[in-house]
């Protein structure tokens, strides 16, 4: 089963083994700071904003049209932005590292 590491804005590193579900679900279940998932995972609230390191971007894939529509007008977003609720954990992503954006809204 795959493993994922969240690096919080305070540089805390939290690694979850046997990660299942979306990154938002995994983070909220494990109380990762800065990920709220307020809308329950439908790509509306943008409170599960993460940044994907360059070496993982190809495997994780680019932001969907729905995510990009939000990022286009979100000050804190960049080309490495994704919403955690839109990334389902899978074997191919074993060892994934993401940075929690921790936006101040």
């Amino acid at each position: 089963m795959p493993k994922v590491t969240f690096i919080t804005p305070e540089n805390e590193t939290i690694t979850i083994e046997n990660a299942e579900g979306t990154l938002m679900e995994i983070a909220t279940f494990n109380d990762v700071d800065g990920i709220e998932g307020a809308c329950g995972g439908v790509c509306s609230c943008a409170t599960c904003h993460v940044r994907i390191p360059a070496e993982w971007q190809a495997k994780v894939g680019p932001a969907s049209e729905a995510e990009q529509g939000i990022f286009d007008f979100m000050e804190e977003a960049g080309p490495d932005s994704r919403l955690g609720c839109q990334i389902e954990m899978r074997e191919e992503l074993d060892g994934l590292v993401v940075h929690v954006a921790g936006d101040e809204e």
């Binding site: 509306s44 995510e67 529509g69 007008f73």
Partner: protein, 381 residues
């Protein structure tokens, strides 16, 4: 009549002009135009008290609502003061359980009564009692707020509109809290400091004003909208009962479908070009039309339908960006609890009588919730 009188404008020029109190307001109808305006506070300013909604509230309040009616950097600092209080539904499991119990008890009572009027008989008392818990004040205060009606400023005869009780009430609550400090909202605001000094009375009144005015008719309209929809679509209630994992996305979808707040205004400090090529003169207002953006066909397929498991569902019913709804976690908790309790306790909802609530403006009429919604509930057999 329609919940979405904006379709033609949205697919046409993207802008609908409406006149309020003799002044023009240009409503933006498309998702990306609305998001752009919400982000760009230098062009579209929130420093426009008391005109944050499309009808000026000059006659019904004297205070600037905070943190909504200001721009960064003031907005950032004001909002940070109260954010923890409004985030409680997300962070405090005991609070969450308290609201779930409140909602469940009220739904149980409703099933017991069998027939009920939802707007004033259920949604208004539920909204008020839940707010009493958010503000940590006794239920007896909710009894006072229920008397104010569905809209804190306008749910009374026109002759009485100017005598609305809110500012006198909140002023008195701040004074009482000074004499007898407790753990409640008013005592808390009395203790808060803005950039090293205590909040002024006017600032505290501004926070209290929007706390009571916002999240009232909006929550009530969403609740009545959900009851009416479930009554008209009995299969939807059955689907939710059979698969509870649908409750989270269903709440988001109902909030998108109802879009209970029609518009929020911004003021242009300088002449500004709009997407349709027209210009807003310096000092005039635009508005972000949430229900229209939420049915933008370039973002949502089958936008007029309720799709329980709609994902992605990037609706902006709670606004977008820095000013997004502070009460959203509270509203979501109420609505999720409501759907859960309806699934637990109700088999079928029948409408006995309904009177839609109409928002009649100079250039459109929109159906938004109900004036009256009488239902019969059939409990779980």
């Amino acid at each position: 009549m329609s919940m979405d009188p904006f379709a033609e404008g949205r697919e046409g020029s993207g802008v609908l002009r409406v006149e309020t109190e003799g002044a023009p307001v240009a409503m933006l109808l498309r998702m990306q135009d609305v998001r752009k305006a919400a982000k760009d506070w230098k062009t579209y300013s929130s420093d426009l008290a008391p005109d944050i909604v499309i009808h000026s509230e000059a006659d019904v309040r004297s205070v600037r609502q905070l943190p909504i009616e200001c721009d960064p950097p003031d907005h950032t600092d004001y909002r940070a003061l109260v954010q923890p209080l409004f985030d409680r539904p997300n962070k405090d499991p005991e609070y969450k359980a308290e609201i779930e119990t409140l909602v469940d008890q009220m739904v149980a009572d409703l099933v017991h009564e069998s027939e009920c009027e939802i707007v004033r008989g259920f949604a208004l008392p539920l909204q008020s009692k839940a707010l009493a818990r958010l503000l940590s004040v006794p239920d007896s205060e909710a009894d006072v707020w229920i008397q104010w009606g569905v809209h804190v400023f306008y749910d009374r005869d026109e002759a009485e509109t100017e005598k609305n009780p809110l500012e006198a009430y909140t002023g008195e609550m701040f004074r009482k809290a000074e004499e007898n400090p407790g753990e409640d909202f008013f005592s808390h605001l009395n203790q808060l400091h803005f950039r090293g000094r205590p909040l002024t009375f006017e600032e505290k009144q501004g926070f209290a004003n929007v706390t009571f005015a916002g999240g009232r008719d909006t929550v009530i309209n969403t609740i009545s909208g959900i009851f009416a929809y479930l009554a008209e679509h009995p299969e939807t209630l059955q689907q939710l009962k059979q698969d509870r994992s649908l409750i989270l996305p269903a709440v988001e979808e109902f909030v998108r479908y109802v879009s209970p707040l029609t518009a929020i205004a911004r003021k242009c400090p300088h002449a500004t070009a709009l997407p349709d090529g027209s210009e807003v003169s310096e000092g005039n207002r635009i508005a972000m039309c949430w229900p229209s953006a939420n049915r933008d066909a370039s973002v949502f397929s089958n936008p007029d339908e309720v799709v329980l498991d709609r994902k992605p569902n990037p609706h902006i019913s709670f606004g977008f960006g820095k000013h997004n709804c502070l009460g959203a976690p509270h509203a979501r908790l109420i609505l999720r609890s409501l759907l859960t309790s309806l699934c637990d306790r109700v088999d079928e909802i029948q409408v006995l009588k309904k009177v839609a609530k109409l928002e009649e403006e100079s250039s459109f009429t929109r159906e938004n919730g109900y004036e009256q919604l009488n239902v019969k509930l059939l409990g779980n057999s």
